[in-house]
Symmetry: C2
Subunit: 207 residues, 2 copies
């Protein structure tokens, strides 16, 4: 299982934004939405062994986290508008209150009232990485086997307390090359690297 955790510093946790102006009204939730596509979808298929967590740290009701699980998710469409509607509807149906466990809103799509700690409790035992500029290249890390979790920032990068939390979790800094890229491109490149590791050492497919 691979998990991508994308942390949106200002991304709206309430879902109260205009679909017609995602960049201007959603705290740049559009960046996170594009990561869903990059992580889960390949040509005419969905990656059944991948989960994406969008940690929404902006506005009322923050932090909240939306989880999309490739194993059970259905009808995940690649376009940004469809993904925006999916996340917006999910947030609108999120339970109120302090419930910090994930609650499934529709097949494969769940929400929790909390941020990184909720994610860590949910992923359980896994090798943990944080994508960062100038960190050692992912290609030099040897073969990734077993469950892996990758933390990424959005266009604003991590807040100091988030970065400190990731350090205390033992997340290993890795990078994907010499240029600072959009989060969704980082997801695509990490996924490609994992595909290549897997091809070299296949694991059984999830049914």
């Amino acid at each position: 299982m691979w998990s991508f955790v994308v942390i949106g510093r200002n991304a709206s946790a309430s879902g109260e934004y205009a679909i017609e102006d995602l960049p201007g009204s959603s705290g740049r939730t559009d960046v996170l939405l594009r990561c869903i596509r990059a992580a889960l979808l390949y040509s005419h298929g969905i990656r059944r062994d991948v989960r994406v967590y969008l940690v929404l740290c902006g506005g009322p009701k923050a932090p909240r986290t939306v989880r999309v699980d490739g194993l059970t998710a259905r009808f995940i469409r690649p376009d940004e508008r469809s993904l925006a509607l999916l996340v917006k509807k999910t947030l609108a149906r999120a339970p109120e209150g302090g419930l910090s466990q994930f609650v499934e809103i529709k097949p494969g799509v769940a929400v929790a009232n909390g941020g990184v700690p909720c994610v860590m409790a949910d992923v359980g035992e896994a090798a943990t990485y944080v994508l960062e500029e100038d960190a050692p290249d992912l290609r030099t890390q040897g073969r990734l086997t077993g469950d892996s979790v990758f933390f990424l920032g959005d266009h604003l990068g991590f807040q100091e307390d988030t970065r400190a939390a990731l350090t205390s979790l033992g997340a290993k800094p890795v990078s994907v090359g010499p240029v600072s890229l959009h989060s969704e491109d980082v997801v695509a490149i990490v996924t490609n690297e994992l595909d290549r590791f897997r091809e070299a050492a296949p694991v059984p497919e999830v049914e």
Copy 2:
């Protein structure tokens, strides 16, 4: 200079589609739009030495090609809706008739009434590649230097006559790994590989 040429088999050449339903109404122009972002934008910047060509082969007025040139383009936004509006407005202002040279509609954004031949006349001398499953890995091709052009299909792949034209141009088949990916992810991965080549052998920056 790197150029990406994305061929949309059914992508609307007239631009007569609904922004609110790109996948359903535009011949999957959404796939091509996402390639603009992946090719041109990195974190807080635009790649000045990259061009993207969207070859629109669907509906009335096909084929037409929209070119976005990172050197002179301004205000290229990353979200799909903004990119859709940019392409739609460009097509609405395209000159009628047989003019097969690129005509600039706004800074860095041009359109031509034609397909692959227009693109080839425009790029001039360059090493030409075609992205294809099961082709030799781009990583094994040695260092890419000089001008390079990469042809990609959309979710439907190439039509037979297009593929034949690419063969006759001497386009070299390359792949980016074991899984068939979305076009925009292929662009991101090829770009990452080019970034890595360039880091190993820097070229002067474009002013």
